[in-house]
Symmetry: C2
């Protein structure tokens, strides 16, 4: 909670639910991250929060952009960002979308497979390409699974092929998984990337760039989350350990760490109930749920801190759920959430650190419920 | 696949992904269900697919409507349905929404808690109310969890309270869980409801209605799914077993069974790739995923049948995933999906039985991807 958000919430009588984002915090986060990784080109992960207000602010700050799709590229261009500051970072792209991105002037593309490379050779000739390698990602709260990246052997061959088919074999990327708490994962990943650099050097190809992805964790609820300084220190040590003095250009794709703690989601308690006389568990139903912005509560992966007007007063255990008729729309049943005993139906409840990965996840209208509104102040 | 959908798909050159729904199948499903349960008033579960084309068609057929929210009530009214044919079936409602529904003329409300009852007494005086009891729901592919319903003792007390506070204690409801394969669950639930009826009779309150919810399963992929005739036969037997000749009015809330098999989702293969030389698994990435309509693939709960232009030719195992940069956007990794070996990037793939619980689950724009388009023919 910032004083600006506090004032906004107290002065407004808007219908809940809605997200308020303090742009000053976004700016502060961006600058802090940039200052901690001065060597890196920061490609903001647009998918974390693509609000024009945030993209414009980051454009003013000099950020580059990591776009997941053609529409995201076009949102970045709309800020005035030049195409040389935009990477098309999704390894799954339609040929037509690559062609359109190329027509817009984008010349930096991710891939992790033979077929994608062939599309890039056809639709984005001479562009810089970077191959995403797979990493384990253990320790991430929102892991990236096996969906992305290829093995090192394959990456080496693909980069050699990239050169053969008229593309510019620019670099290697990885992603340790979103909300990664285990800082050693960057060391492992950077070590793997360094192997690809040296293998390719042996084949006469000098890579220029290492993209270390995102994954620096935000402090949600609970402990054991390293702070940005610890994370970036680990990353810098690992870079030095594996690349020595011969550092490539470094790119990074922060999203969550830029926006999450700038946002507060204001909601209302629609109902508090018990299921039986034998079970005192309070079920607290909010007017926002898994299908209206809180998709990252899937498997209770991301656990938002919660604030009410009764903070500090006696608390008791609750199950938190959303407002739809869907049984899967439970936010937290197994994460030991407690809320004040005084809390009652109609009260406001604030979900903190909700500035990233909320608004765009909201459904178009499941159960007739409108998408999450948001305000950037 | 119906011949109408086949023709539509072959004649159109629309950009994928999109859903096509054959309204004739919706009508056929509605009539078949009505004919199998002639005693029941059918409240279509609007949330399954609230497209105006479907609501209008079901209105013409004489259906009533189960609405999950005020906007869904207003969609039903827009078809010309009179408010006496609309139930506000969500047990989690804001007071202001109840007041507005009441102003619209709605006089039938679900609840399962003391607090909700108090809201109804204040905002919807003299309305018919029905209390949702909890049932186990074992055997459902998309279970309703503990989120809804209260214990029998509490239900009895709440219905007595309803009478005391000027509401009309109309009936009892339950829901055995969506896509329920175990037909005995209806017997268990109807037996529990009958206990509430007789307890309340002992307290001088004669309930009028039993709402047996939804849950009749659709045949997706795999076997062991009873058909509609088997399900409705089981339901009718259970009603007779527990209520004898003294049947209350029966209400039911089908959604999935009305719409699912009327829809085909046309998608395109964006990429087929392997992750390493050692692992021959083909990753097939479609242009639709968990965040653009296929939310029910969560935990691989709902497994859609898939059709391609190569059906019948040799197949091999695949992992199916969506187009976003999100590691959770995997559709099927553990459900032994196989697709033709000839399938290649750019080919069309059709997900069958996708007419329910798809369009409205789509996100407003995660990764910059537009919501799922749909056509009703």
């Amino acid at each position: 909670m910032t004083s600006k958000i506090d004032r906004f919430l107290s002065e407004q009588t808007l219908k809940t639910p809605y997200l308020v984002v303090d742009k000053d915090i976004v700016r502060r986060n961006y600058r802090a991250f940039r200052d901690r990784l001065p060597l890196a080109e920061i490609f903001y992960a647009v998918k974390a929060n693509p609000a024009p207000e945030i993209l414009n602010l980051l454009h003013e700050e000099g950020a580059s952009f990591d776009a997941a799709s053609l529409p995201e590229i076009e949102m970045c261009l709309a800020t005035g960002a030049t195409p040389d500051r935009i990477a098309y970072g999704n390894v799954i792209k339609k040929s037509a979308d690559i062609a359109q991105a190329y027509a817009h002037g984008v010349r930096l593309y991710a891939f992790d497979s033979q077929v994608e490379l062939a599309k890039l050779a056809a639709e984005a000739p001479k562009s810089k390409v970077f191959c995403r390698i797979s990493v384990e990602g253990a320790g991430a709260d929102w892991p990236l699974s096996r969906k992305f990246g290829c093995d090192l052997d394959m990456a080496v061959d693909l980069m050699a092929t990239a050169q053969d088919c008229g593309l510019n074999p620019h670099g290697i990327s990885f992603h340790v998984g979103s909300q990664q708490r285990n800082l050693e994962q960057w060391d492992l990943a950077i070590g793997r990337a360094a192997l690809v650099f040296s293998d390719l050097r042996g084949r006469g190809i000098e890579l220029k760039m290492l993209n270390i992805g995102g994954g620096v964790p935000v402090k949600y609820r609970g402990n054991g989350v390293p702070d940005v300084a610890q994370a970036t220190d680990s990353i810098m040590s690992a870079l030095t350990r594996h690349f020595g003095n011969d550092l490539p250009a470094i790119a990074t794709e922060p999203g969550r760490i830029i926006c999450a703690d700038a946002g507060v989601l204001e909601t209302e308690v629609v109902l508090i109930s018990q299921k039986s006389y034998d079970d005192a568990t309070r079920w607290v139903y909010l007017d926002v749920g898994k299908f209206s912005g809180l998709a990252e509560t899937m498997d209770e992966a991301i656990r938002y801190p919660i604030s009410t007007d009764y903070d500090g007063s006696p608390e008791g255990p609750v199950v938190l759920a959303g407002p739809t008729c869907d049984g899967a729309d439970i936010l937290y049943e197994n994460s030991d959430y407690k809320l004040p005993l005084e809390l009652k139906t109609g009260d406001r409840v604030r979900l903190l650190n909700t500035g990233a990965y909320t608004t765009t996840y909201a459904s178009v209208g499941f159960n007739g419920i409108a998408p999450l509104k948001s305000y950037y102040i």
